[in-house]
């Protein structure tokens, strides 16, 4: 069997995982119609009865029968979960009791009218969010929906019917759902309507006559049929994709659409979503933030637009660039966009038209291989958002007073000046004063200063004095010019200041982010990550925050948080963690909470939640963006910390496995060889009677030799085991280093017999602090190593000396030296030189290193000039040797 025939195991695994995840999540079935009255609820109830008969555990979460008898009859007998009552402005509203259904955990729940808006106080503002939570909990859901409530189709419906659509459901909710079209020919529907079989609320009744025109219905029917057809397309494609293991996107298309503070953006977004649906490709919504200051309403519109983009399923990017085209293209290139969608310039004024035109031309010129799609954007409902290009700086009373004061002062100065200079120079002085004022204060005071000074100049200085009239044409022109210059100058200065401030804010954000990233990069533990996150949030936003982290899927508040979470807030955090969505204040999930809860998410998993107690009234887009970036960064580092820990454990495991394997190999060889020698020698002694005394002695010597070797191997193994388990703790005492060398040499006399050994030692006792036994082993191993790796007859030199507060013990030989490639690894466990003689476990030098390092010392190996190897042990001797007085 060739490898090519086999399915790629990784791909297979991820496919299975996807299927399992889908299995775990509940399935959504939508009974889909073109408009109210086609019988969606009825169809849903019929389907539910079939499921009930088939033995499925189902409950009715919420059904709106509008009092119709046929529907009521169908709903009767189905198990119900009582609705939850909400009091709102004296009215009692009943809603789906989400928690009750979740607690009941049926296999299937019926929840009518997906686009419904919940009563204030419910967990989510929208019912589709309730349904999403049910699905996430693994509960299947039947629901109903009309085509006009689908976000991306809402615009078209409005164009066709002229009716405003307020309640919409994001297209993303329908991804993966089964759509069952409940169809009724328009003529029949009109008939049912006339027979009064269609329930309509009173306020809709008037609009209804217009809405239910047959031409409208035909258009709506076509719209819903097309949507359902497209949707089936997604299903089959995905199915086929699964079988054939191809990429989820059939095409490599990627659409990019710019999002600005214009109400036109919303329509453009819907259009792009439809197109992305058609192409089955990903799409990006990009906002390029510039230094221009937006009015509050424009800012709100921008945030609405971005929220819409997210709901429609776009990948939303925000970037900062004063060059709109440059920013768009940069993101486009980074994300491999294939098409950029732009709206046709439809501005009202010539200026706006000119700007739009210029933008298009630049895009066309610079977009390179990215295609450009220009579409006609319908004007939305938001109303034109006037752009302010002047900063609305709050001008306090002091600023106005300051402006007036400066003009007054300048006036007085000018009075003195006029005597020598004539009436025109004061004008320039006034102008200078206005510019200076503009440097200090906001727009209002600047205008005031400009106007005041102009009038003052005219009144007090220009002839005729003390009159607002001007005699000479020359002066009139000067006065008019003065007025214009003063105001333009003031504006320009104010604008520069505003840009500066915006720049500074952006700079602050960039710095905050940079610092955070830099600090985090060094974080090596969860605690450090949390500490940096809390500190940075506190520093940048002056807001207390808490971090809850998951340990074995249980959330626990981290002690470093500067905010204590109440039980209720903890519940919100838990929800945000489980659902992997932002929750609490400023969100659509549990908006009644006091804090803003952001999950710490990576693609791999959810690590916990960052909860921020926000003091201000609202959270701006930039602030939210920065907070989300913080949370994402922190999650990435948490992920890295976790992965690194896992990798470290895996490495240790692998190393210990390798150790055991090598140990076994080494033991089997190192123990068996001497065992074999001594066994055969002993049996030879026992069996043969005709041995000469010499042969007998030789055999006995073999046995002794083999056993000595065996003893040494076992000793080495035990030493390594002790070192591995960290049990080696030197017992330091004063010793004569010469005694150490001499005793070691004496005990190894037999082993060193074939090498002339010279020792170079001081004449007087060399008192050093060390563990005699450990160092005797270390030095002994160096000597044995030298004897084993050098030809018989070559000398071995041992030295002991104290210098610079360190004891140096060195063993030098005149053998072949150490191969360069072996030098860095020579002290590694089980490392054996390629030319090493047999016998030797590869542990001797490791033990030397271990024992020496247990003393806080170092051991090194090098090649001697003139041939041979030199091993040096350096032991620190921080204590001065005690003086032993002569008697």
């Amino acid at each position: 069997m060739s490898d090519g025939d086999r399915p790629n195991p990784d791909a297979l695994l991820s496919s299975i995982q996807r299927e399992e995840a889908a299995k775990k999540r509940g399935r959504l079935k939508v009974f889909f119609g073109m408009c109210p009255g086609v019988g969606k609820t009825y169809a849903m109830l019929e389907a539910a009865r079939r499921e009930l008969k088939a033995g499925r555990d189902l409950v009715v979460g919420y059904i709106e029968t509008h009092g119709r008898q046929e529907t009521n009859a169908l709903a009767a007998g189905l198990p119900q979960v009582p609705r939850k009552q909400f009091e709102h402005r004296g009215m009692t509203l009943s809603e789906l009791d989400l928690d009750a259904v979740l607690a009941r955990r049926p296999q299937l729940a019926l929840v009518d009218e997906l686009a419904h808006t919940n009563a204030p106080g419910a967990r989510h503002p929208k019912r589709w969010q309730d349904v999403t939570e049910l699905l996430d909990a693994g509960i299947d859901v039947f629901t109903t929906l009309n085509v006009q409530h689908v976000e991306s189709r809402a615009d078209t419906v409005r164009q066709v019917t002229g009716a405003e659509v307020r309640e919409t459901v994001p297209d993303g909710v329908l991804d993966g759902a089964v759509l069952e079209l409940v169809d009724l020919p328009p003529a029949e529907l009109v008939q049912r309507l006339q027979e009064g079989k269609v329930y309509l609320p009173d306020r809709a009744a008037v609009a209804a006559t217009h809405f239910f025109r047959e031409s409208n219905l035909t258009a709506l029917r076509e719209l819903s049929l097309r949507l359902v057809a497209d949707h089936v397309g997604v299903d089959t494609r995905e199915f086929r994709g699964n079988q054939a293991e191809t990429s989820p996107w059939k095409t490599a298309h990627c659409l990019l659409v710019g999002v600005g503070p214009s109400p036109l953006s919303e329509a453009l977004l819907r259009w792009t979503r439809r197109m992305a649906d058609g192409l089955h490709c990903r799409w990006l919504a990009v906002h390029v933030e510039s230094s221009r200051v937006l009015t509050a309403s424009a800012q709100a519109q921008l945030e609405r637009n971005l929220a819409t983009a997210r709901e429609l399923g776009a990948e939303v990017f925000t970037t900062t660039d004063d060059d709109l085209v440059g920013g768009l293209l940069r993101i486009g290139r980074q994300q491999n966009a294939t098409q950029i969608i732009v709206g046709k310039p439809v501005g009202t004024g010539w200026l706006e038209w000119l700007r739009g035109d210029r933008l298009l031309k630049r895009l066309a010129r610079e977009s390179g291989d990215i295609d450009l799609q220009v579409v006609r954007a319908e004007k939305g409902t938001g109303g034109a958002a006037a752009r302010v290009w002047l900063p609305g700086l709050a001008s306090s009373f002091q600023q106005y007073a300051f402006a007036v004061g400066v003009v007054l002062g300048t006036g007085l100065l000018n009075l003195g000046l006029m005597a020598v200079s004539g009436p025109r120079v004061p004008g320039l002085v006034f102008l200078l004063a206005v510019v200076l004022v503009a440097l200090k204060v906001g727009r209002g005071p600047v205008l005031l200063a400009g106007a005041l000074s102009a009038l003052a100049w005219d009144f007090f200085f220009l002839p005729p004095q003390f009159a607002l009239t001007i005699q000479r044409l020359e002066d009139a022109i000067l006065f008019a010019l003065y007025f214009v210059v003063a105001i333009v100058l003031g504006q320009l200065v104010a604008r520069i200041r505003a840009q500066e401030q915006a720049e500074r804010r952006r700079e602050e954000r960039a710095v905050a982010l940079y610092e955070f990233t830099r600090d985090l990069a060094e974080a090596a533990s969860r605690d450090e990550v949390v500490w940096h996150l809390v500190t940075q949030v506190n520093r940048v936003f002056q807001a207390p925050s808490a971090v809850v982290l998951a340990v074995n899927d249980q959330l626990a508040a981290h002690p470093d948080g500067s905010l204590t979470l109440s039980e209720k807030e903890f519940g919100v955090a838990d929800w945000a963690f489980r659902q992997r969505k932002a929750a609490g204040r400023f969100t659509d999930n549990l908006p009644g909470a006091g804090a803003f809860h952001l999950p710490l998410l990576t693609e791999r998993k959810s690590f916990g939640v960052l909860a921020v107690q926000w003091a201000d009234q609202d959270l701006t887009l930039a602030q939210r963006d920065l907070l989300e970036t913080f949370a994402r960064q922190a999650a990435l580092i948490l992920d890295r910390v976790e992965l690194r820990t896992a990798a470290e454990q895996a490495r240790l495991l692998a190393e210990s496995e390798k150790f055991s394997r090598t140990l076994l190999n080494s033991i089997s060889h190192e123990l068996r060889t001497p065992l074999a020698a001594s066994t055969s020698a002993a049996s030879a002694l026992a069996a043969a009677e005709s041995l000469t005394p010499e042969q007998r002695a030789a055999l006995m010597n073999e046995i002794l030799e083999a056993n000595t070797r065996l003893n040494r191997v076992v000793g080495n193994l035990l030493d390594v085991a002790r070192l591995e388990s960290g049990q080696v703790r030197p017992r330091l005492d004063w010793h004569d280093a010469r005694d150490l060398v001499q005793t070691t040499l004496r005990e190894l006399k037999r082993e060193l017999a074939s090498h002339p050994v010279t020792s170079e030692l001081p004449v007087e006792p060399l008192l050093v602090r060390l563990d005699f036994s450990l160092m005797q082993h270390a030095l002994g191993n160096l000597l044995l190593n030298a004897a084993a790796h050098t030809p018989a007859g070559t000398p071995i030199d041992v030295q002991a000396a104290l210098s610079d507060g360190r004891l140096r013990l060195s063993v030098a030989d005149r053998g072949p030296g150490i191969p360069a490639e072996a030098l860095p690894r020579i002290f590694d466990k089980f490392f054996r030189g390629s030319k090493a003689p047999t016998g030797g476990s590869g542990l001797g030098l490791t033990i030397v290193k271990g024992f020496v390092e247990a003393h806080g010392g170092t051991v090194s190996a090098e090649n001697r000039p003139g041939g041979g190897a030199l091993f040096s042990i350096l032991l620190p001797q921080p204590d001065k040797p005690p003086i032993v007085a002569p008697e």
Binding site: L704, N707, G715, L718, D733, Q742, L767, F772, V884, E887
Partner: protein, 235 residues
């Protein structure tokens, strides 16, 4: 239990070791060298045998299954001065030193060679005899007259300082046996100096300088790592 007395005349050795192979081996080795041998496989049995058989020397393994070797030693020492030689393995230095300081006479480290073991046994037996050491001690080319306090190296008198002589005297009276650091420090400098090991290092070095044939390769006063010193006994 397994004791089968060899009826040869000679000193009796009691072997207390839980390993049958070691007991068998020692029985053969010791019997071949003129010892009568009794053995015990547990600490309890060892204490009983020591009382009943009144051995001349005891070989005691430190790693026994029932009683700690050190406890067995202390129990026997409560009523008996019989020389005790410890059988230890490597890396039992602390227990070894503790046993020596609690009254054991010497030790051998497993695996031991039989010549070494027999030498230790002889030294232990000699010191166990009531008549005490002879006044004149000879080993190699060294001669020490304990009564006259005269030390001769190859027939030439060597001048020793009082401390050096004190050390040498202690080593000579325990010739062939290990003398622990503690014993030496206590005997020569007094109980207060028990942890002043550097005195010992320096004065032993000086002693070697004066007495050893080749001071750079001592053969007379041997270092027992982590335990003490031993004066080699060559007759």
């Amino acid at each position: 239990m397994t004791e089968q007395e060899t009826t040869k005349p000679g000193p009796m050795a009691l072997v207390i070791d839980d390993e049958p192979q070691i007991r068998r081996l020692l029985r053969v080795t010791l019997a071949a060298n003129g010892y009568r041998v009794a053995d015990a496989s547990s600490g309890q049995d060892g204490v009983v045998q020591a009382a009943q058989r009144k051995p001349d020397v005891i070989l005691l393994d430190l790693g026994l299954p029932d009683l700690d070797g050190l406890q067995v030693l202390k129990r026997i020492r409560e009523w008996s001065r019989t020389p005790i030689i410890i059988l230890s393995v490597r890396d039992q230095e602390e227990e070894k030193v503790a046993a020596l300081d609690s009254g054991a006479d010497d030790y051998v480290t497993k695996p031991f060679n039989s010549a070494e073991l027999l030498a230790r046994l002889r030294a232990a037996l000699r010191h166990g005899q009531p008549q005490g050491a002879e006044a004149i001690f000879r080993t190699g080319n060294l001669e020490v007259d304990l009564s006259k306090r005269v030390v001769l190296k190859s027939g030439v008198e060597v001048k020793l300082t009082p401390i050096e002589y004190g050390l040498l005297r202690l080593l000579v009276t325990h010739a062939g046996k290990v003398v622990t650091h503690r014993q030496l420090l206590q005997e020569v400098w007094g109980a207060k100096a028990i942890d002043q090991t550097h005195y010992l290092r320096v004065h032993i070095a000086h002693l070697r300088e004066k007495l050893e044939a080749n001071p750079s390769a001592p053969e007379l006063i041997l270092t027992e790592p982590a335990v003490g010193y031993r004066l080699l006994c060559q007759r």
